[in-house]
Symmetry: C2
Subunit: 217 residues, 2 copies
């Protein structure tokens, strides 16, 4: 009984994701679906990225949270458009939620939209929202066994940002093991090692993102 229902939900989701995709293309907006476990640093990465790119790119943000608008409040302070989606219990964003949120955003005034997904290393990976790229964050505090234990997000993401490298001296996380396992799951994934706290390593991430936006069709 269960599998057909899930498949059906995913098929409907994919159709709506294509609608979103068409709308983003019409308006030439590059869309990044940002995913991670709770507290791995999605909002902190976004704050840093906005600070660095906002003079060159017009940026908008969709914040996905089960409840509260704490993250959207942080983002609005950066002077960019932000819309909050409250999923009311749901553990991921789906294409329909993004479709509804987009009606509150002036797409013609944007170059880049970042969709910050619900903090969850599992479910968000299954649901396309019409993005150009999926980007995931892993915090070194989560441990080096995470690619093997939660493979789908690593398999589907174009970029893996390993965050909180300033904490490496205090935790057991073998970076080489993370890299090797992630690359075995997804040989095409681009890996960044950063600290959103100190700023270390973020330059290559900004360049990669800007390059992607500039090289789109």
């Amino acid at each position: 009984m269960k599998i057909p229902v899930v498949r059906n939900i995913l098929e409907v989701n994919d159709r709506v994701a294509e609608q979103n995709r068409a709308l983003f293309d019409q308006n030439r907006v590059f869309v990044c679906n940002l995913m991670s476990s709770p507290g791995a640093g999605k909002t902190s990465l976004l704050e840093r990225t906005i600070d660095h790119l906002k003079d060159r790119l017009r940026i908008g943000v969709i914040e996905g949270d089960i409840t509260s608008n704490l993250d959207a409040e942080r983002i609005v302070q950066k002077g960019v458009q932000a819309v909050q989606i409250n999923t009311d219990g749901a553990c991921h964003l789906d294409a329909n939620m993004v479709w509804e949120a987009v009606s509150n955003i002036d797409l013609t005034s944007l170059d880049l939209m970042v969709i910050e997904n619900v903090g969850n290393l599992v479910c968000p990976a299954e649901f396309k929202v019409g993005e150009d790229v999926k980007v995931m964050i892993l915090s070194v505090t989560e441990g080096d066994d995470k690619p093997l234990k939660y493979p789908l997000m690593f398999q589907l993401s174009q970029a893996l940002i390993i965050n909180k490298i300033d904490l490496l001296p205090y935790v057991d996380c073998d970076m080489q093991k993370v890299r090797e396992t992630a690359l075995k799951l997804n040989p095409g994934i681009t890996i960044f090692e950063v600290s959103c706290r100190t700023g270390e390593g973020l330059g290559t991430w900004y360049d990669w993102l800007q390059g992607k936006i500039e090289s789109r069709a």
Copy 2:
């Protein structure tokens, strides 16, 4: 369309959870459903807890993971019974998975069974598995805003273990804020501040768990 399907799944789940509950009661096994984000320290807490209690209590473990048996391998080395559930993509354990796993365990030989759920701060809270207590872990590295952003697990857990307090000097996490927010969501929750790395604070957790097991009807 979606809400009735979800409700139906939860109702079926609750009935199977009651079956599990009856089976655990028959065998006088105390069951702890252990939940957290990925990498917050469920397996580490379990290793420490087994080391401390295994001479006094007969302990069994059900390991829930999407894929792999890395955690079960760690637990078996502690000399206790362990069964691995691979959810094959599902983001939480449900009562039926636990029902099937239990058929591989000799319940008559156990006092305590710990069910380590899939690493996910959202979905596992919704699914009863027949447990006596829900226990959750929050790592200080996840940040002090997590109770407000992911309230359900905090509302439903009997105990909140705040782990990795050895990292407090290096992260922004206001412990008072975590405590206050968690207690506002759930005034009856018991809070422990621990480091599974150093062992700090774990004594009160062991005592609490042992007290719960001894005082059951």
